[in-house]
C-alpha cells in the first residue's frame, strides 16, 4: 500500500508497482476515499534504494493529480478486504487530514558547509579562540594534550553557535512563504540543516525564489541542496496499531 487519496471511481496508475515485475497500481475504495495499492508475492521489502525509489515513484505519479497521504515504505496487507477494513476504521481522521493537506507540497532543504573553512574563520574572528591559540603558540603549549582538548572544545562550541545562527537566518528568510517546517537530524559533520517545508501549491514559485535569495546571500560559504516536491512525509503521520496476520 502506497497511500490514501480522495476518489470515488476506480483508478489505475500504470504498471509501476514495487517489486520490479510491473504490477499494476490501482485503488481500493471505501466510500469517497481510496488506498493506492499493487499486488505483491512477498511480504517484506528490504529498504534498498531500488525499492524505495519504486515506492517513491508511485507516490509521485499519484501526487501529480491527487492529494495523497503517504504510507510508510513496505506496508503490506494480506487482502484488499483488509485494506478496506483499515480505511473504514480510521475514515474520519483520513478525511480530515486529506482536507488539511489539499494543495500542499513538501520540499526538502539540506544545507552543508565547509567545516574546515569555517574553523579557520572562527580562529580569526572569534576573539576567545584567537586569544587562546595565540597563548598556545606563545607559551609553546601547542603540544600539551589538555590545551589541545580545550581548544577543540572551544571550536566545537563556536561552530555549534555559528550553525544555529545561520539556520535561524535561513528560517527567517523562508518563514513568510511556507506553511510549516520540520527539523530533521543532520547527517554527517558537514551538514548544519536538514529540514522539510510544507508549501501551499500556489506559493511554489515564491518559495523557490526565497530559497534562491537566501542561498545567494550566503554565497559559496554554504551549499544548499533543495529537493521536491515530495509527498508530505514530514507533516502527516499514519499511526496504525495492527494485529499481525497468522500464516494459516
Amino acid at each position: 500500500m502506497y497511500g490514501v487519496i480522495e476518489a470515488r471511481e476506480p483508478m489505475s496508475f500504470g504498471k509501476i508497482g514495487i517489486g520490479g515485475i510491473g504490477e499494476n497500481v490501482y485503488t481500493v475504495h471505501q466510500g469517497d476515499i481510496a488506498a493506492v495499492v499493487s499486488k505483491t508475492p512477498v511480504f517484506i521489502f528490504d529498504p534498498t534504494r531500488e525499492n524505495a525509489l519504486a515506492h517513491e515513484h508511485v507516490i509521485e505519479t499519484v501526487m501529480k493529480n491527487n492529494t495523497i497521504i503517504p504510507m510508510s515504505f513496505g506496508t503490506v496487507f494480506r487482502t484488499d478486504d483488509d485494506i478496506r477494513e483499515v480505511l473504514k476504521s480510521i475514515y474520519p481522521s483520513l478525511k480530515d487530514v486529506l482536507k488539511q493537506m489539499a494543495n500542499k507540497l513538501e520540499f526538502g532543504l539540506k544545507v552543508t558547509w565547509d567545516r574546515d573553512r569555517i574553523v579557520e574563520e572562527l580562529k580569526k574572528e572569534n576573539e576567545e579562540i584567537h586569544r587562546f591559540q595565540h597563548e598556545l603558540t606563545r607559551k609553546h603549549l601547542q603540544s600539551t594534550y589538555f590545551a589541545r582538548m580545550q581548544l577543540g572544545r572551544m571550536i566545537d562550541k563556536a561552530l555549534a553557535e555559528r550553525a544555529a545562527e545561520v539556520v535561524r537566518e535561513i528560517y527567517d528568510g523562508l518563514r513568510a512563504v511556507c506553511v510549516a517546517s520540520r527539523d530533521n537530524k543532520v547527517i554527517g559533520d558537514k551538514m548544519i540543516m536538514n529540514a522539510a517545508f510544507l508549501i501551499q501549491k500556489d506559493k511554489e514559485t515564491e518559495f523557490d525564489a526565497a530559497v534562491n535569495a537566501v542561498a545567494q546571500k550566503f554565497g559559496d560559504r554554504l551549499n544548499f541542496k533543495y529537493t521536491g516536491p515530495w509527498p508530505p512525509y514530514n507533516f502527516v503521520n499514519i499511526r496504525l496499531k495492527l494485529e499481525r496476520g497468522t500464516a494459516s
Binding site: 490514501v4 511480504f43 517484506i44 528490504d46 529498504p47 534498498t48 534504494r49 497521504i69 506496508t75 503490506v76 496487507f77 494480506r78 487482502t79 478486504d81 483488509d82 485494506i83 478496506r84 477494513e85 483499515v86 476504521s89 480510521i90 481522521s93 483520513l94 480530515d96 487530514v97 488539511q100 493537506m101 544555529a164 539556520v167 535561524r168 528560517y171 523562508l174 518563514r175 511556507c178 506553511v179 510549516a180 517546517s181 520540520r182 527539523d183 547527517i187 554527517g188 551538514m191 517545508f197 510544507l198 541542496k225 514530514n234 507533516f235 502527516v236 503521520n237 499514519i238 499511526r239 496504525l240 496499531k241 495492527l242 494485529e243 499481525r244 496476520g245 497468522t246 500464516a247
Partner: protein, 115 residues
C-alpha cells in the same frame, strides 16, 4: 595494582552483578540498529554527492542491509518470535490508530528551528 585487587576482593555476588552489567551492555550493542541506519543515510548522501558511484552504493547498501536484517532477527529471537514475519498485515486496527497532522493548522507559528 589497586584496581585489580579491589576487583578480586569483591564478594562473589558483586562480581556477578558486574558480569550482568557487561552482558546487558553487550546485548544492547548487539541489538542497536540506530548506527546501522545512520550509515545507510550517510551512504545515500555520499552517492548523491558523487563521492561513490552507483555500483559502490549498491554493494555497500547490500552489506548494511544484511547487518540490519541480522540485528532485527536477533531482536525477534530475544523477544521469542520467529526470525522473519512471512505474512502480511490484517485489517484489524487497534485502539489509538489514525492519521494526524504534525503541524497545527490553526497556528501561525509553525516555522523555525527545533520543530
Amino acid at each position: 595494582m589497586l584496581f585489580i585487587d579491589d576487583l578480586l576482593m569483591l564478594p562473589f555476588t558483586g562480581f556477578k552483578s558486574i558480569l550482568r552489567t557487561l552482558v546487558k551492555v553487550a546485548e544492547e550493542q548487539y541489538t542497536d540498529d540506530a548506527p546501522i541506519k545512520e550509515r545507510l543515510l550517510q551512504l545515500q548522501v555520499d552517492v548523491d554527492e558523487g563521492k561513490i558511484n552507483e555500483d559502490e552504493y549498491v554493494e555497500q547498501e547490500a552489506q548494511i542491509l544484511r547487518e540490519l536484517r541480522e540485528i532485527q532477527n536477533r531482536k525477534r529471537e530475544m523477544a521469542g518470535l520467529p526470525p522473519e514475519e512471512a505474512t502480511g498485515l490484517s485489517g484489524k486496527v487497534k485502539e489509538g490508530s489514525g492519521v494526524e497532522l504534525l503541524w497545527d493548522p490553526n497556528s501561525d507559528d509553525n516555522v523555525g528551528p527545533g520543530r
